[in-house]
Amino acid sequence: MRDPMERRLNLDGINAKIHLLKETAEELRLLADIFPAVLRNTDRILASVKMLEINVSDVLDLEKPGP
């Protein structure tokens, strides 16, 4: 059961967008393998996405059923 703060934050919605952001950045990275400016800036985006995962996804994904 989520507490009121968690419900108000729409954590599932936030988490879904984080996953989408990561997927998009990883696809962008593949497209930019010989384009330094895009590749390195995408790496920085992915580092920030990792911080979003640490802040939100890691704890939310605990609740998901295992494989």
């Binding site: 507490d3 703060m5 968690e6 934050l9 954590l11 790496d43 920085r44 992915l46 580092a47 920030s48 990792k50 911080m51 640490i54 802040n55 939100v56 890691d58 704890v59 605990l62």
Partner: protein, 444 residues
Amino acid sequence: MLSDQRYWNPVLETLPHGKIRDLQFSKFKRIFRWAYDHSKFHRSLYQKAGIAPDDVRSFQDIHLIPTVEKSMMRDIQRKDPFPYGDALCVPLEDVVEFRQTSGTTGQPVYQPDTWVDWEWWSECWSFILWAQGYRPADRVFIPFGYNIFVAFWAGHYAAEKIGCEVVPGGVLDTKARILKIQELRSTAMMATPTYVLGMADTAKNKMGIDPSTLTIRKITCAGEPGASIPSTKRRMEEAWNAKVYDHAGATEIGAWSFECQAQPGGLHVNEALFLVEIVDVETGAPIHEPGRQGKMVITALDRQAQPCIRFDSKDVIEWSPEPCPCGRTFRLIKGGVIGRADDITKVKGVLLSPSAIEEVVRGIEGLSDEYEVEVDRVGDVDDILLKVELMPGGQGDRHRIEAELKDQLRLKTNLGYRLEFYDYGTLPRYEVKAKRFKDRRKGH
């Protein structure tokens, strides 16, 4: 409004303890597997102990994993992949930041960080600064010699991330820093306790500026335990008319704890990013209950380039029995870092912590902030010499000060001292970490 929010992360900082443990266990397994798969040093250590990632099935299994000491890191470094050696878990070209430990306890340890690790550093510090009331409206002055030591680098980037305006006080000297704080009306500052007091002393006694009239209203300390020593904290807060907050971290660990605005007499462990275990100094047995001191074994749950897994930090801490009124569920360590297992030494058969001496000296009116302690052996007997400075014009008060000092030292440390009094300004001054405790006995 965003600035009204009490927590940097309202989810993690208020998680029930059971859920924090689940998160820690899940992340521990992940970082343990990462190190096992990517670091020759860690894999070899764990294989020798007969433990592999699939063997970690419960929280208790974590205690079976060997600890890592700083001396082990020293031994593997300065080799390929140069200069980090076999604990490096990423290709060398992924390393974007170099830092090293200060070398206070021996040869420095090099610390590589990837860009993700560097983001993580500033994330750790964002928890700290938000909890201490830093907000986008703050103008933060950082009087720190930006260099190979990690010190306030991450504080700088975290303040930026939060949205503060950051003024890097890099190569300016102390007087120029004070003038810049005055000129820009900076509202917050980060420095070691030694330097916070040193700046106040310079402002007051060499520039005729009362630091309490400046606009600094919060100060974050690191690098030394002073901000958790009540008398030192009080001196800093009175000098600057500011709230002073402590934080403990280390180059090879990360920024793992912080004092919040409630100033509860301890530091919160950031239990979402770190797993802190307290173990008995002699036996290594886990200590779970509050009120018993032990040394800290710590894991940084997300650090990748050179993982920090069950690192024997030698920091002596104890869990606080009380929750914090701020509402965070991250547990408190009472009184911050009480000392280091290798600093807390037996003198005349009694355990002596240098911070206990600091608490006494800084609690006596008429003494300056500076002091030095020298322990030596005369024949078969330990001898402790304490050098203190009288404030200007304090000679007339010397007998009262000496009597009070002797009484308080006996009361707080259970030991007798030889006392030497010096004129104000004659003991050494330090800009970063002070080295005030010297043990000259053989084998120390």
